[in-house]
Symmetry: C2
Subunit: 440 residues, 2 copies
């Protein structure tokens, strides 16, 4: 049986998980593939670190460069994380004509264009199934399973930490700081949680999905990002009363009402917490699970669900890439499907100001005659329609919440109106504005 | 740009859908694939039939054999349905070394082993993404995306007609005949609905998924099948009271508690209506949508959701296969991944009698002291435990429903106990027994 020799760079959670998965199911994969996967070397930071997964000392080294250039190794697996050394690792391997499997979304987000370019120049390949949504084979689905479709809508719950926090906030009626602290204790959130809860991780993944779906490289700087730090238990509760659940979504939306005559209308690419109808399947994606809802112009609506992170889910995705890479090596088809095909060179990202959607607005107002009239007048002047109002009973003169559901309006118009509303003397705190997605 | 010439056999709904999809997105696919797909000939039954999709007369013919052997055509797309002529079409093409794309689950179910064997012998390939669950790329997911996993559980809602009927029965509290008649009127059910509602179509698909997941050919005769004809609005209502939804499931379950020392414990492969917890994501898969829940030993739980049938969903799957086939032709890797890899030669199907599960039992009994005691005594003698009972209040002497939820028991033990219960004078109608799936 043919053998493919792997060099793994990174001996942390994911590296250990991949090593363990190959030990466990390598024989099964060989019987399915007709190829034996053998881990020849593994580069780690510290040879003597205690590891949850036992790895033979003989294959460990601290010299990643020696692993990449090792003459027996024909496939490099980059699992170290970070964007500096990881970039060097991938570039060096590609320059040697060795295919690379990576799970590193931050790396792809920051340097994807350069890396894909390097792969193309050397006629080799870069595989990245594990970079988005862990165990869900979403990259393969988009590139191969839905290849006959123009992707008109993509909504992803792609950050497990945020989904876990929002799920527990809803179930327990608790505010974010309390649930976050518990998530950190349980290992579902990092000690420094900003990358997750401020939406940066979701941005990396959404950018990769958008680039893949629309065939032009989406610069992360063009992605509008809002995290979940501003979400209060109160908002989750009011949203529930209105029939909605709040989820952090990565949104990639083809804007068909864009300027006429252009081959590729601009695409909305955003990350923000949104209200979604309780009846929508995405609303029942809870805890650390991820899901990606994809609408194709031929297939219609589809959804892909699974664990988005963690040692084993990520290992499963890496194994899938290893199989593809091994088959490409066996059949000498290294660039059978190039890592990224820029098939829509004209593509552009729609600025958030031009995005039109519905809104949920929570104001803290003084309960006094004329309050609602003043707010409604500002919205009316801006030609923004109100679709429903919740004003819980309060005592005159006190601060009470006022919830407004707003019809379709541009983000620019809404922002402008909100600035005016915030300046009204009857409005006490900064208004909370969340977008509503209706999946139409 | 390289060109692949297609010969399509079958000009019905699916054939027309594929032709239309290629017209619509052929250019997009070419820009993604670097290969142009051209429909050279299309074999139809009647040249003069009025078609919803306009197809140029010049490419139409009634002679399928001439299409298959046409010297310019290098890829055959079998979309005619049926199992006799379709078998000949596929075999003739494979013998000529031409790869075949098919959407025909009945053909694969009946002749899969022979066809896969023929493909292997001639070193070519048979692609069948469209045969199961329409637009959901489940074949690719199982064969490639989850290649590193042993599949321990698979639950599929794979028949859209049944799911549509069960969904409407639940929403409207109506019985099957009424909803079926409406579904037929709307085109969601055939005039002769037996293939769908008696579970045969789900059996074809479940057999293909089981074979693929476990790497041995599952003979359709070994699959235990029950359709939805026996489901009453009453059962859906009681199941709802208990926190469950009734769905027709294809079930492929690795039985880890099987005989020790065997490499591959027997696999349960069944199709039956089952109670599933309302909180499970499968319970929110409604109307004509399909979904397949797959648990891998590494990835954990995953789910794939989309339209399971219809012109466009099927066309999307066929396009995905066309892309793979075209790439394999371009790179001369016709058997890169053989259509079916029998990787577990020792596999066996567990007889339904040996399957252990929980049950929902609805009896029609005379409301009289001692009724429950007699039934409970029969179950106790068989060592079958009752987990809960619903007995709506009635009038003494009248027939009333009695609902029992039963703890884990083998199907054989349950069947034996039910025969005894049915013979009790206080039991009026044939008992209704449904299985309960807990996804543990």
């Amino acid at each position: 049986m043919q053998q493919v020799n792997l060099g793994i760079i990174g001996g942390g959670t994911v590296g250990g998980g991949v090593f363990q998965a190959i030990q466990r199911n390598g024989e099964l994969m060989a019987s399915r593939l007709g190829i034996w996967l053998s881990v020849v070397k593994m580069a780690v930071r510290d040879m003597n670190k205690k590891r949850a997964v036992k790895i033979p000392k003989t294959i460990l080294t601290t010299d990643w460069s020696a692993v990449v250039s090792h003459p027996d190794i024909n496939l490099i697996v980059e699992l170290m994380g970070g964007t500096n050394t990881a970039r060097e690792v991938v570039l060096q391997a590609l320059k040697l004509g060795k295919p690379v499997v990576t799970a590193n979304k931050a790396l792809l987000s920051a340097h994807g264009e350069e890396l894909f370019d390097a792969a193309q120049k050397t006629g080799t390949n870069l595989y990245y199934e594990a970079s988005v949504a862990g165990g869900i084979p979403i990259i393969k689905v988009l590139r191969e399973g839905l290849i006959g479709n123009r992707i008109t809508r993509l909504y992803g719950i792609v950050n497990g930490t945020c989904n876990y926090i929002l799920t527990r906030m809803k179930l327990e009626g608790a505010d974010l700081p309390q649930i976050l602290a518990d998530a950190q204790r349980l290992g579902y959130a990092e000690a420094e949680p900003s990358l997750d809860i401020d939406g940066c991780d979701a941005m990396h993944k959404t950018g990769i999905l958008a680039s893949l779906a629309h065939g032009f490289w989406v610069n992360p700087k063009q992605i509008y990002v809002e995290g979940i730090r501003g979400i209060r238990a109160l908002d989750i509760q009011f949203a529930g009363q209105l029939g909605y659940t709040i989820k952090l979504l990565g949104i990639v939306k083809r804007n068909d009402s864009g300027p006429n005559g252009r081959a590729c209308p601009p695409i909305q690419v955003s990350v923000y917490p949104a209200l979604i109808p309780n009846t929508h399947v995405l609303a029942s994606v809870n805890h650390v699970f991820n899901a990606i809802y994809v609408r194709g112009d031929i297939v219609g609506d589809t959804l892909y669900y699974g664990r988005g992170a963690g040692q084993d889910a990520t290992a499963s995705a890496v194994l899938s890439d290893l199989a593809d890479a091994a088959l490409d090596l066996k059949h000498e088809t290294r660039s059978r499907i190039p890592p990224f095909v820029p098939h829509e060179r004209e593509g552009a990202v729609l600025p958030i100001d031009a995005v039109i959607c519905r809104y949920y607005l929570r104001l803290s107002v003084v309960d006094r005659p004329g309050t609602l009239a003043r707010i409604a007048a500002i919205l009316a002047t801006a030609k923004i329609g109100i679709s429903s109002v919740i004003q819980p009973e309060g005592h005159e003169g006190e601060s009470v919440p006022l919830i407004l559901m707003i019809h379709d309006a541009s983000n620019a118009a809404m922002r402008k109106a909100l600035r005016k509303i915030a300046r009204l003397p009857v409005v006490r705190e900064s208004p909370v504005m969340l977008r509503v997605e209706s999946f139409d």
